[in-house]
């Protein structure tokens, strides 16, 4: 639109200049003709820059065409052409390149991506999709795996063959997991493995399609667990905290403990950190910690100003508060309001089998008269037993989270050699308590990035991300409303791992995940067409329905005018 006005202004300026020159000319003969010729020349220049379009004579008449997209079935196309013999057939690229009036389109094959649909001019569309292909039509997995966590691949497999299909997850020269899918069924599947390596790796999903073996790449990266800083307040020395802090430091976390051993006497331990003053809990002290772990008595022994500092820190700075429930007398404390408790009627020591949020059981733990949390609103259950008694739950408090745990003596797992279960239990608690850390910059990519195709990278950053990456220039576009959102296109030139400003991602070969690509086109086609039906397209607002006057005609008009002006000046 802007282009149009720029050209118009230039043309008007040049026309007025020309008219002025004509009017100042001594020879006033054929002045009118000369003015006319100048006006026509300038206007033809304008129309060369901005194509002139005429209202199509065929408006209202629907042009029909068949558009072929990838994966169309020849048989169904032939059957269709039997009925409509005269209809023209275009491959989609050809159709988009040519200038066709909007009409009724019959689209065969997998369909198009959303952007491609938008380029297509059509008044109505009839979609003849190909049958859903055999193979994996959808797959997702966690592309960043924390060290020690499983890689979980979930997907949908369309098995339209009459045989059972076996999908194997392969890598490192080994088969890591397999799943079998029954014939004549579209089913979801899940494959799982705990990767052992550090850094990037590409596993493969392998299945047999007729005579061919199909291998789809599964790229992912194992990342380190980072660092958590935990402050432990204990009202009495105990094994539980001792084992926990040892476990934390052995795994590279920081732990600071303050254990009351007498009145106003504390035993302090600083694991993997410098000595700090722990005599009073202040806001500046809490600043250095992500999680405060305390037992109920220790919290109740805090002075009101200390407790306020804790409260403020949880609510405003997103610190996690884990409370190991013991005798809780102060019912009005801020951390208790969301929770309610119920002691078990069974006073005997009993063995309790707990399970985490992943519904996988932990080894039995012997607990004397267990204390349960009642299931109430706004509280998320984390650890429960097989009878659905809740042993640990979290609740939001301001920006942070408060988490109650009523399981005593988890160190018994460590003693009985179940170190991995101990790690599992405390990982659940700590991960659910800790707030999210704001990253200065983070990237993500939607969909399936393919080699030699533009990949839209999205970034969250307060400053503009690096414009240059791996020899390519990325033009970051800032979201006009959410100023911290950026997006830009990147063209991967070879398949494999890519690195954009430290963000590692994998560009797939165009032969990878073929069926996922096809299914994605189909899904986007259905999505587009369902919204398309709702829009009513009127001929008035459809600019595309006009024919452009050929540029050659305007050009020759311009040349004729110029020749007239030149010859007139020479001859007379």
């Amino acid at each position: 639109m802007q282009w149009k006005y720029i050209v118009l202004v230039i043309c008007l300026l040049s026309a007025s200049f020309l008219f002025w020159k004509e009017l100042r000319r001594d020879n006033k003969a054929r002045l009118f003709w000369r003015l006319l010729a100048s006006a026509v020349a300038v206007s033809s220049l304008y129309f060369l820059a901005v194509p002139l379009k005429t209202r199509s004579a065929r408006t209202g008449h629907k042009e029909e065409a068949v558009i072929l997209t990838n994966g169309f079935s020849k048989d169904s196309l032939n059957a269709f052409l039997q009925q409509k013999k005269t209809i023209p057939v275009y491959p989609v690229r050809e159709y988009l390149a040519g200038n066709h009036p909007a009409g009724k389109l019959f689209v065969f094959g997998d369909g198009l991506l959303k952007e491609e649909w938008q380029q297509l001019s059509a008044s109505s569309v009839e979609f003849h999709p190909s049958p859903v292909p055999f193979g994996i039509i959808d797959a997702h997995w966690n592309k960043n795996v924390t060290n020690g966590s499983p890689l979980v691949i979930q997907g949908t497999f369309n098995n339209n063959s009459s045989q059972t299909v076996r999908i194997a997850l392969e890598g490192f020269g080994k088969v890591l997991d397999t799943v079998e899918l029954s014939p004549q069924k579209r089913a979801t599947f899940e494959l799982k493995t705990v990767p052992l390596q550090r850094g990037k790796a590409v596993l493969a999903l392998r299945f047999v399609n007729g005579k061919d073996t199909v291998r789809e790449p599964v790229p992912f990266e194992v990342i380190g667990s980072g660092r958590l800083r935990v402050l432990v307040l204990a009202s009495a020395p105990g094994f539980e905290n001792r084992f926990l802090t040892n476990w934390l430091i052995d795994n590279g976390y920081t732990a600071v403990t303050r254990t009351t051993i007498s009145k106003n006497k504390f035993q302090q331990s600083f694991l993997d950190t410098n000595k700090i003053n722990l005599n009073s809990i202040t806001s500046s002290l809490l600043n250095g910690f992500d999680i405060l772990l305390a037992d109920g008595t220790a919290l109740e022994n805090l002075t009101s100003s200390e407790l306020n500092a804790v409260k403020q820190h949880v609510a405003e700075n997103g610190m996690g508060l884990i409370i190991q429930a013991d005798t809780l007398t102060n019912k009005d404390a801020f951390y208790k309001t969301a929770f309610s408790f119920a002691a078990s009627n069974n006073h005997n020591k009993q063995s309790v089998i707990l399970r985490g949020p992943d519904m996988e059981f932990l080894p039995a733990l012997s607990i004397e008269q267990p204390l349960h949390l009642k299931p109430v609103a706004n509280v998320q259950t984390l650890i429960s037993d097989k009878d659905n008694n809740i042993f640990s739950a979290a609740s939001l408090y301001g920006e942070g989270k408060i988490l109650f745990s009523t399981v005593p003596g988890t160190y018994n797992w460590m003693l009985s050699g179940n170190a991995s279960d101990y790690a599992r239990y405390w990982s659940v608690l700590l991960e659910n308590a800790v707030g999210r850390k704001t990253e200065t910059i983070s990237y993500n990519i939607n969909g399936l990035p393919l080699v030699n195709e533009p990949v839209n990278i999205r970034a969250f950053s307060e400053d503009q991300p690096q414009p240059r990456s791996a020899g390519q220039f990325i033009a970051w576009r800032q979201d006009p409303v959410a100023l911290f959102k950026w997006d830009g296109n990147y063209w991967p030139l070879k398949a494999g791992w890519q690195n954009v400003d430290g963000f590692k991602w994998y560009a797939y070969d165009s032969a990878d995940w073929k069926n996922v690509q096809r299914q994605r086109r189909m899904n986007e086609s259905y999505e587009y067409l369902s919204s398309f039906k709702e829009q009513s397209i009127t001929p008035e607002n459809n600019e595309e329905e006009r024919d452009a006057i050929p540029a050659l005609f305007i050009w020759s008009l311009f040349v004729v005018c110029c020749i007239f002006l030149w010859i007139e000046g020479k001859l007379f």
Partner: protein
């Protein structure tokens, strides 16, 4: 015409002679094949031996089977006998023409026409045919023997010489050939092995000798064991072509050849360890108590096995007698008969305890020991046999009272035993009625004692165990005020006696032993009541021993201690002053020790990266070298499992250092091995991240809070 006829006989003679020779040749070949096949079964030899055997047989047959010596007379005789139409006149043909008379000439004329009509058959033809059939049969049998031989059981396959190097084993190109001689230690009684391949499987302490021949003279040939120990080979005849060296194999590992600075592939050394003898004792049980009345005899039943042979075996028996500080030990070695060098041996030895000098109260500790050919000794566990001491049971170790007060109402088990023995001694001097009465009285005493102990178990009945109660009438059934109260009704009609669990004085273990004691008392009482006091004695003794054990269990030894407590400071007591007490502090930093598993994990990632990207940083290369060293340690202890991976890892690091292409196969091999040895990591908590948003969500949250207030 007559000339032609005259020639018939010599030509027939020649042909038949040739046929005879051919027949002999076939027969001799058949015999040679059979002989060679038989020899082949016992001794492996080349098939070329068939030729001389045939020639020998043929020569022999020429002497033994002389049918081939066909003379002209033989031909004539044969023709005369076989063909009557020749009228027995063929011999005329042998006569020279001028010597024949007229009649003979006539006959020859006739003979000529007759000979033209007669179809003279070769007499050897039939035999040759059957000889060929026999030869074919022999050949088929021969090939079956030679080629299907390994299928037959008991066939000896010659293992000792492997002239072909093993598959997948690569030698340095400069090495023409290698001979490795493995001499197992003599005690194994195994033969030497000679092989042309590098990988070695040898017995422990076997001497291995390498003989290496090179194509060109070289300066130095070295063997490098386990990436560390260097061993120089010496040139045998100073021609720098043949190299020799030997080494005793004491541990498994791997080695490589270094020749002019060039390193070969890695070859593995597997060691078959000499196992010590294995002793399995089937009887007696680890701890056996022989009670009074039981035969003082045990049967030692054991089996000993060893991989190369047992040299010596014996039972080491120790008798402990006495008690307290006066314990005496007496060691005895009981040799056992054995077949020296046998691989397995069973022991069945009855041992009478008194023959070892054992008396009641003594204990016998014994173990079985065996040594193998390599003087490796192994011992079984120690087995304990206890002869119960009846005398000890009778002794009272309480302080003896001045007055010997005997409880009147019941007698102790010890007393019952003493009196039973007294009764048995007096049996001959008292009347039978008196004997029976006294036996019965003792039975009653035994019953009283049993009831007394029964009380500890909650038994109330004074009758026999299981005897029915007959006091139901005592219950007042009329007072059933509450209808439908099942517990109430059940209470009235049932008896809650004899519930051992109600007598809560003892722990279950004590109760169990008490019950066993009562059972023994029952048995003793039964015998006493049926006037068999001699039979009652073993039960009484057992009951007494169990009671004694029970007594011992309740005793606890507490040693004397000597503590000096500091004097109390009275002015500080109960003041609650903690000012002088410092807060204990602990500071510990995580020593970042990189474990082998971490190195393996990291290098697994680097290897994965190498599949697509051939460039590694120096740090990553160093990591791979460390992983290689780690694999080398694993390979030294288990060459079979890690050799392949180590070789591949070396290929990768060498390729990286020299900038050559890396085989994807090598990467996969190493990754597979690493994946198997890396322990599964435990879960760890991780702080999730969130994207930058100019604190937009915080502002939103705070505004929300404000609106609520």
């Amino acid at each position: 015409m007559s000339r032609a006829v005259n020639h018939i006989i010599p030509s027939l003679q020649k042909r038949w002679k040739a046929s005879g020779l051919i027949l002999n040749a076939f027969i001799s070949l058949t015999i040679a094949v059979v002989i060679i096949a038989i020899v082949f079964v016992f001794k492996h030899l080349s098939l070329w031996w068939l030729l001389p055997a045939w020639i020998a047989c043929f020569a022999g047959s020429l002497f033994l089977h002389r049918k081939w010596q066909v003379s002209e007379t033989d031909v004539v005789v044969h023709l005369n006998t076989i063909y009557p139409q020749l009228e027995a006149s063929v011999n005329l043909l042998l006569k020279p023409e001028n010597e024949r008379n007229v009649l003979e000439n006539f006959q020859v004329e006739k003979l000529n026409s007759a000979l033209g009509n007669v179809d003279i058959k070769n007499p050897f033809l039939k035999k040759i045919r059957s000889a060929i059939v026999a030869l074919i049969a022999a050949l088929i049998a021969f090939f079956l023997i030679v080629y299907i031989k390994p299928l037959r059981p008991g066939a000896k396959v010659n293992h000792t010489i492997k002239n072909q190097p093993a598959e997948g084993e690569r030698s340095l190109p400069a090495i023409r050939d290698v001979h490795v001689m493995i001499t197992p230690p003599s005690y194994t009684k195994k033969a030497n092995t000679n092989q042309a391949s590098w990988n070695i499987v040898a017995e422990q302490n076997a001497a291995v000798e390498w003989n290496i021949k090179t194509n060109l003279p070289v300066e130095k040939v070295q063997l490098i064991f386990d990436d560390s120990a260097v061993f120089n080979l010496s040139s045998a005849v100073n021609d720098k072509l043949t190299w020799k060296g030997s080494k005793t194999i004491t541990r498994p590992g791997f080695y490589q050849v270094k020749l002019n600075g060039q390193l070969s592939d890695l070859y593995k050394i597997e060691m078959v360890k000499d196992q010590p003898p294995v002793i399995v004792v089937k009887s007696p049980k680890p701890s056996t108590v022989i009670d009074y009345g039981e035969p003082a005899k045990i049967e030692v039943n054991a089996s000993i096995t060893d991989d190369y042979g047992i040299q010596q075996r014996y039972i080491m028996a120790t008798v402990a007698s006495g008690s307290g500080e006066a314990v005496k030990f007496k060691e005895q070695k009981i040799g056992l008969q054995y077949v020296s060098g046998a691989k397995a041996n069973d022991i069945k030895l009855p041992v009478t305890l008194p023959s070892l000098g054992m008396q009641p109260g003594d204990e016998l500790y014994f173990y079985i020991a065996a040594t193998d050919n390599n003087n490796q000794e192994s011992r079984s566990d120690v087995y304990i046999i206890t002869l119960a001491d009846t005398a000890q049971l009778m002794s009272l170790d309480i302080t003896i009272n001045a007055s010997d007060v005997k409880p009147e109402f019941f007698r102790s088990e010890r007393q019952i035993i003493i009196e039973t023995e007294q009764l048995l001694r007096e049996r001959d001097t008292i009347s039978e009625t008196a004997f029976k009465n006294r036996s019965n009285d003792l039975g009653i005493d035994q019953k009283l004692l049993r009831l007394r102990y029964g009380k500890f178990l909650g038994e109330e009945s004074e009758g026999n165990i299981g005897e029915a109660h007959d006091d139901h009438d005592e219950h007042d059934h009329a007072e059933t005020g509450q209808f439908g109260n099942a517990a109430e009704i059940l209470d009235q009609f049932s008896h809650k006696h004899d519930i051992a669990e109600d007598a809560t004085f003892f722990d279950p273990e004590t109760k169990k032993q008490l019950k066993a004691t009562l059972a023994e008392m029952w048995n003793a009482e039964l015998r006493l009541r049926t006037f068999k006091p001699a039979e009652a004695l073993p039960f009484a003794y057992k009951a007494l021993r169990l009671l004694k054990d029970l007594q011992q269990k309740s005793r606890v030894y507490v040693g004397k201690t000597n503590i000096k407590t500091p004097p109390l400071q009275k002015e500080k007591r109960l003041s609650g002053d903690l000012s002088g007490i410092a807060s204990p502090e602990l500071q510990r930093n995580n020593e970042k020790l990189v474990s082998e598993a971490d190195v393996f994990k990291e290098s697994l990632g680097v290897l994965e990266q190498l599949k697509t990207d051939l460039v590694v940083s120096t740090g990553e290369l160093e990591l791979l070298l460390r992983a290689s060293a780690g694999l080398s340690r694993h390979a030294a202890s288990n060459p079979t499992g890690f050799m392949h991976a180590l070789q591949s890892m070396k290929n990768i690091t060498i390729s990286l250092e020299t900038g050559k292409a890396i085989s994807n196969n090598d990467i996969v091999v190493v990754q597979k091995t690493l994946y198997e040895i890396i322990p599964a990591p435990a879960r760890r908590p991780r702080q999730a991240g969130k994207g930058a948003d100019f604190s937009l969500s915080d502002t939103y949250f705070n505004n929300l809070q404000k609106q609520q207030h």
